[in-house]
C-alpha cells in the first residue's frame, strides 16, 4: 500500500466557512512554511549567525544567543535543509510541522499585539527586521517585525489554536479578519 499523504494544518479547525475579504487589520496563516531550528556550537555563534544571514530564501529569526529559526516561504524543506547543513558547527532540525507561522498586519496591529505581548513594539524600540522569542498569549512565540505595521508570529503547533483565538479576540475591537495564505 501507499499512504495517501494528506497534510492538515492545525488551524483548519479554527478557520472554516467562507473566506471574506480582508479588512485593513488582517491575520493570515501561512499554510506550509519551512521552519528549521538552527543551533550553533559554543564558540561558533557569530559564524553561524553570519552564514544564516547570508543564506538566500531564508529569513533567520533570533531565538537565543545560539539558536535561530530559519524560515522560508519560498523554497521547500529539502532545499533549506541542504543549505543549512552546509553551515559548519551548527545543528539543524526540521520544525516546519511543529511551528505555525502567522502574519498580522494593519494600522491597529500594535494595539492588538499590546494585548498579547509585554514587549514594547514601538518602531523606534523594536525596529523592522528585529525578531525575538517572547510570551504571546501564554505561549512562547517568536515575533518579527517585517514591516511598519506587519509582524510575523511563530508559535508551537500545539498552542496555535489558543494563540489564534486570543489574537482574534484582541482584534475584535479592530475588526481583525483572518484567513489562510498559501
Amino acid at each position: 500500500m501507499s499512504i495517501h499523504l494528506l497534510h492538515r494544518h492545525v488551524l483548519e479547525d479554527h478557520i472554516s466557512g467562507f473566506e471574506t475579504d480582508p479588512n485593513p487589520n488582517h491575520l493570515s496563516v501561512i499554510r506550509r512554511p519551512v521552519i528549521f531550528s538552527v543551533l550553533a556550537r559554543a564558540g561558533h555563534e557569530a559564524e553561524v549567525a553570519e552564514a544564516l544571514w547570508n543564506a538566500e530564501d531564508v529569513a533567520p529569526r533570533l531565538c537565543g544567543p545560539y539558536e535561530w529559526l530559519a524560515v522560508s516561504r519560498t523554497v521547500g524543506a529539502e532545499t533549506v535543509e541542504a543549505m543549512l547543513s552546509e553551515i559548519a558547527n551548527a545543528s539543524v532540525i526540521d520544525q516546519s510541522d511543529g511551528r505555525v507561522l502567522m502574519e498580522i498586519s494593519g494600522p491597529g496591529v500594535r494595539k492588538i499585539l499590546a494585548g498579547c505581548v509585554a514587549v514594547d513594539l514601538h518602531p523606534e524600540v523594536f525596529e523592522e527586521g528585529r525578531s525575538a522569542t517572547m510570551l504571546c498569549c501564554h505561549a512562547a512565540a517568536n515575533i518579527a517585525r517585517t514591516g511598519k505595521d506587519t509582524f510575523e508570529i511563530i508559535v508551537p503547533r500545539s498552542l496555535a489554536g489558543s494563540v489564534f483565538e486570543a489574537l482574534m479576540e484582541m482584534g475584535r475591537e479592530h475588526a481583525l479578519t483572518r484567513g489562510f495564505a498559501d
Binding site: I3, R8, V10, S91, S96, D120, L159, E169, M170, R172
Partner: protein, 985 residues
Amino acid sequence: MTSYRLGSGGAINRGQSLSFTFDGRTYKGFEGDTLASALLANDQMLMARSFKYHRPRGVVTAGSAEPNALMTIGSGARAEPNARATVVELYNGLAATSQNRWPSLKRDFGAVNDLFSPFLGAGFYYKTFMWPGVFWEKLYEPLIRRAAGLGKIAMQADPDRYEKSWAHCDLLVIGAGPAGLMATLAAGRAGVRVILADEGFRFGGSLLSESAAVGGRPAAEFAAEVVEELASLPNVTLMPRTTVFGWYDDMVFGAVERVQKHVASPSPDLPMERLWRIVAKQAILAAGAEERPIVFGGNDKPGVMTAGAARTYLNRYGVAVGGKVAIFTNGGSGYRTAADLVAQGVDVTAIIDARPQSADPVPESIRVIHNGSVIATKGRHRIEGLIAERSGLEEVIGCDALAMSGGWSPIVHLMCQRGAKPVWSDEKQAFLAPDVGSAFAAAGAAAGRASLSECLKDGAAKAHAALDALGRLVGSIDIPEVEGEYDPAFAPLWYVPGARDKAFVDFQNDVHVGDLGLAQREGFRHIEHTKRYTTAGMATDQGKLGNVNTAAIVAGMRGVSPAEIGTTTFRPFYTPVSFGALAGAARAERAAPVKTSPLHGWARKNGAAFVESGLWYRSAWFPREGEKTWRESVDREVLNVRANAGLCDVSTLGKIEIFGRGAAEFLDRIYSNGFLKLPVGRARYGLMLREDGIVFDDGTASRLSENHFVMTTTTAYAAEVLTHLEFSAQTFWPELDVRFVSSTDQWAQMSLAGPKARIIMSRVVQDDISDAAFPFLAAREVTLRGGLKARLFRISFSGELAYELAVPAGYGEAVADAVMDAGHEEEICAYGVEALNVLRIEKGHITHSELDGRTTADDVGLGRMMAMQKPDFIGKRLSTRFGLTAADRLQLVGLKPIEADKDIKAGAHLLKDGAKPSLANDQGFVSSACFSPTLGHFIALAMLKSGRERIGERIMVWDGLRGSEVPCEVCPPVFVDPENSKLHL
C-alpha cells in the same frame, strides 16, 4: 426645596436628559452627571446606611474617596455592588439600589444597632459570644454574618468581556488636574511618549470645579483647550476613566480602564473593563489632595459633606447641595465655597470658623463665627440644623446642608505602596509624599502645593525635571496666569471636643473618637493596632478621608506629634478593582490555553472521549455502539491490544532533540543509569533523579546518530525535564558540547501495540522491521510507503510487541488513518490513555502515581538502574542517605484481592491483616488500581512498608473514606508476562 439643580451652569449637557432609577423610583439627570450629582439634583440626599450602626448617610465627597454613598448598580449577572455613586457616570437606564438596609433605606431595622452602640464599642466581639461554646457557630456568628457585609453579588457568570493590555511610555502622568495637565503639556510638546491617565470621565480635575479664571478663560474652558491640544499630539495617549491603582517594582503601574461601565448597551466587541500594565521610564503623581472632614458630633448626617464636594456639585454639575448651607471650616476652602454658593444664589446661613480670625474674603452679608465650632447636628435622614458653640455659648443654626473643611491631605497613596512611608510636615499639617527616587515624583496638590497657580507651575516644573532625566528637555513652557484664586491655607483642627453625638473618623465602618480612645486605653496604641482593633481605615475607602484624622487624634490623645504616630501601610489597590478586570479573558473554558495533539482529529473521528491532561486533551477511550460504561470500552481495548493490536496517540510525550559531541556524556550524568555505550539506532529506558536522590522522571533516550539523541519524557514533566537539562548543561557543565531543542510539537507520535503490531507496521513502513533487523529497543529513521520520512522506535509501555511511530505533525492524521486501514484485517482498534493505564499496571510499569516525588529508584524496584560506579550523576550523592535506604521504606508491590470480585481503589491504605486502623498500623497505600480484563479481577500497584519481603502476605486494603475493606495478597508488581517474552516476539 433643599438640594436642587441650578438653572444654568456646570459641565453637564442640559440638552441630553438621562433617565435612571434609584430603589425603583425614576429620576432624571443630564449627560455629564454622576449618579450622586443627579440624585442631589433630585433632592435625594439619603443614599446609604453605614456598616455597623446602620446610620442614614448621604455623600461626603464628590469623588473616589466616598465612604458613604455605596450602591449596587444594575441587576442580575451585571449587578455591581458597592459602587460609589460619586464616581458612577450617569447613563440612560442606569438602575441603582441602596444596600445594607432592610426593609428600605428610610426604614432600616438594622438601625437598632445604633441604640445599642454603647455595648458595641471597638472590639466588643472579642470579649463575648464565647458561652456556651456551640452558640458562637450556631447562633451568634450566623447573625453577625447576616448583618455584616455591604452589597450583594449575584454569583452568576459575567456576560461581559474583559481584556488586558500593556502600554509603554517615557512619562506617565497620573491625574489630569491642573498639575497633571501642565505636566503632560510640557512633556507632550517636547515629543516624548506620554500617557495621561485620570480616574474621571472628564479631564480637568479641580479645574472643573473652580470658579477662578486661568489664562483669561474660565478654568474648565482652559482645561478643555489643553486637552484638545494633547489629543492632537501623536506622542500623547489620553486615558480617561482609568484608575492607576498600583505602583509595582521597576516602574510598572497597574491601571484599570472602565471602557463601557458608562454605556447603556455595551458593545460585544469591546471589553467592559481593561487592565493596563503601564511601563514608564518616569512618572508624575498629580492625583491632587483630599479635603479632610472635621470630626465633630453628628458629622455623619446626610447633608454634611466636604466644602470642596459642595463646590464641585455647584460648579461642575450645577447642583446646589442645599437651600440653606452652613459652613464649618478652618481655612480658605470654606470661604470660597460660601462665595461660590452665594454667587449662584444659594443661601449661606453662617460660616463657623474654628480660627480666632481670618483674612479670607467674606461674601457680603454672610455671618462669620470665629472661634466657633459645631458640637451637634439635628435631623435624622438629613441635617436640619446644627448647634454651634463659641466661648461656652451655644446657638442653633438652621441649615439643610453643612459644608466642612478640615484642611487638605495630599493623595500620596501610590508613592507609598512600595515600602516608603509618607512624611509628616508641621508646616503643611499633612503627610507628604516620601522621596522614592528620581523616577517618580509628586506634583501639584499631591506634592502639598496649595494654590491653583502653584499647582500649574509645579506640574510644568516636575515635567521639566522628568524630561531632563530622559535627556529630552528642550525648553520650558509658559504658565498661564490665574485670576481670582483663593488661599487654601488652613489651621489644624482634628476634632471638636464636647460632642453631643458620635464624632466619626471612619464613616463607613462607624468608627468614632470614643473608639479610638478605648483602643488607647486597652493598649492597642500602635497605629496598626488601633486600626485593627477599631477597624478605622479598613472600609472600602481604605481610610482615604479618615486615616490622617485618626493619626492626629491618636497623637492628640497621647500628647505627641502625628509624625510619631505615622500612618498605617498603604497597599494596592488605590480604589477597589473588579476581579473581572484583573482576571481579563482568562476564565471559564479559556482559563488556560489548550494544547492540541496532532492526532486530535484522528481521535475525534474515531469517537474518542477526551480527558484533560495538563494543558492537553488526550483521548481517554473510544466507545463503540452498545458500550454503556467507560469500563466496557476500556476492557475491550485492553483485550484487543493483548490479542491483536491497538493504536494509541502518544504525541503528548515530551520530545527533546539533543545534539553535540558531549551529548552522550551529558545523558550519562543526567540519568542514573549508563548512556555512554548506547549504540546508534538504539533506545534505552532511563531514570532521572533530583539532586536529593529522589526519582524525578523516567523516559527513554534514543541515539539517532553519534552526536544526536532524542529523549522522551512523560507528558506531565515535559517542560520541567527540558528546564532540568538546560539548568544542568548551562550551570553545572558549561564545558560540555551539548545543545537542546524541544521537538514535541514537530511529531505526531503513535504507539502500535499488540502481537500483530509488526505485520501491520510492515504494511506502513518500507524498511525491514523483522525482529532481526529491528529488534526490541531499536530506534531509527524509516521511510513510509509513500515516501514520508519518519522515526520508528521499538519500545513498549503495554508489555506487548510495540512500536512508536513519529511522523511530521501535519501528516499525523493521514498516517494514523493508514495504520488503522493496514490493521483492519487484524482487528486493530484505537485505544486511549485509560486502556494504556490498565496495560501498564498489568505489566507493572510505573508512572507518576508511583513516582510521587518521595520515592527512590529502589522503592520502585529499579535499584539496579543506579549505576553507582559512575563518577557522577545527578542525585547520586544524596541517594545513599540513611533515611533513603532504610529497610522500612515503602516499596512497590502488586496486590490481588483474595476474593476475586472485590474492587480496589487507588488512595486506599494498607493495614496488617487483623490490625485496627491507626496511624501506627498504617503500612502504605495503593498507588494505582484497575480492573484487569486480562486476569478477570482487580489488581493494584501499592507502596508497602518493606514490601518486597512480604510477597505472599495477606494484607487489608483499607478505604475508610469510601467504606471498604478488601483483604488482598501481596504479589510481585508484574501481573502479565513477567518473563518479557512478548517484547521479543
